[in-house]
Subunit: 190 residues, 2 copies
Amino acid sequence: MTSETDPRSVRSREAILNAARELLLESGPTAVTHVLVADRAGVGRATVYRHWPQAEPLLLEVMATVPMPFLDKATVPTREWLRRELTAIARQLELDDVRAVSTTLANTALWDENMDARRAQFAGILADRLAAALDEAQARGEVTLTLTSRNAAAMAIGPMYYRSTIERAPIDSALIDAVVAALGTWSTDR
Amino acid sequence: MTSETDPRSVRSREAILNAARELLLESGPTAVTHVLVADRAGVGRATVYRHWPQAEPLLLEVMATVPMPFLDKATVPTREWLRRELTAIARQLELDDVRAVSTTLANTALWDENMDARRAQFAGILADRLAAALDEAQARGEVTLTLTSRNAAAMAIGPMYYRSTIERAPIDSALIDAVVAALGTWSTDR
């Protein structure tokens, strides 16, 4: 029986991940240490070290448990799909755990290459999905883009991210509407 | 002679601030500890503790040394002033130290109320300056805003901040132009 299928090992692994997640949300990434995680999970430090010899991969795995299924599977009309998806992202960005994970990722990525790889993957998925949906919408005549589709993710998500993490104020529907309008001229406006 | 005017005390204070700044830029906020700062500054730990009993206010003071004089003193035509200011912000956001300070602020503000106060002050200054400049431009007939001037800072700075810290890619002039166009219909476009 390997440690990955040993029920006790699976249980301690889950307890450690839950404890690390609680600590991240309560006190930030600097609280995700072997000592504090072992304490909170009710396991010995040696158990934490056995599963995660370094603290950073544990933090990374905890952050990966926050789901980010945004901008997936575009539907027509694209403008309504986009407004729904951006509203969903806005609601997520107002959750403490998503704010904690996204700002931790942006900050730690500057010094940790594993974090940076996760940042790049996350940003790339969002940019690719949005660019594909907008290019298809333009091909269908739904919109004339006023920027390259490659710039769309920064233009669409950036204002909400800044509002949520720098201004720390609610993302109102007027900001979401302004973002949708900034991407292009929609055929229903003409 | 108080410690604030004692030349030796002034020198050690400056050495500590410089060391803390170097550590922040090299390794991130978690490296700004009493032990590492004393080591780098070439002073005893007791000296660091005497000036800064806690590490957080030291980090905050270091971050305050990075100047952020953006969007100050608007000139006419407002659109050209805005494009220049946004280009200046873009160039700053591409500097490692500004990226380090801004993402550290966004992240640590979630758990530290002093950091949060500085975040609020910083965001408030930018939002107020931009809103005032745009309201005046609209009153002069230079622009018809397509969003409330209160939403302008998120719309203008958000895409560049996201591009720089989440996508980690250059802020091209096309993105800056798209941002300026997103704020309103400029009279020179009509």
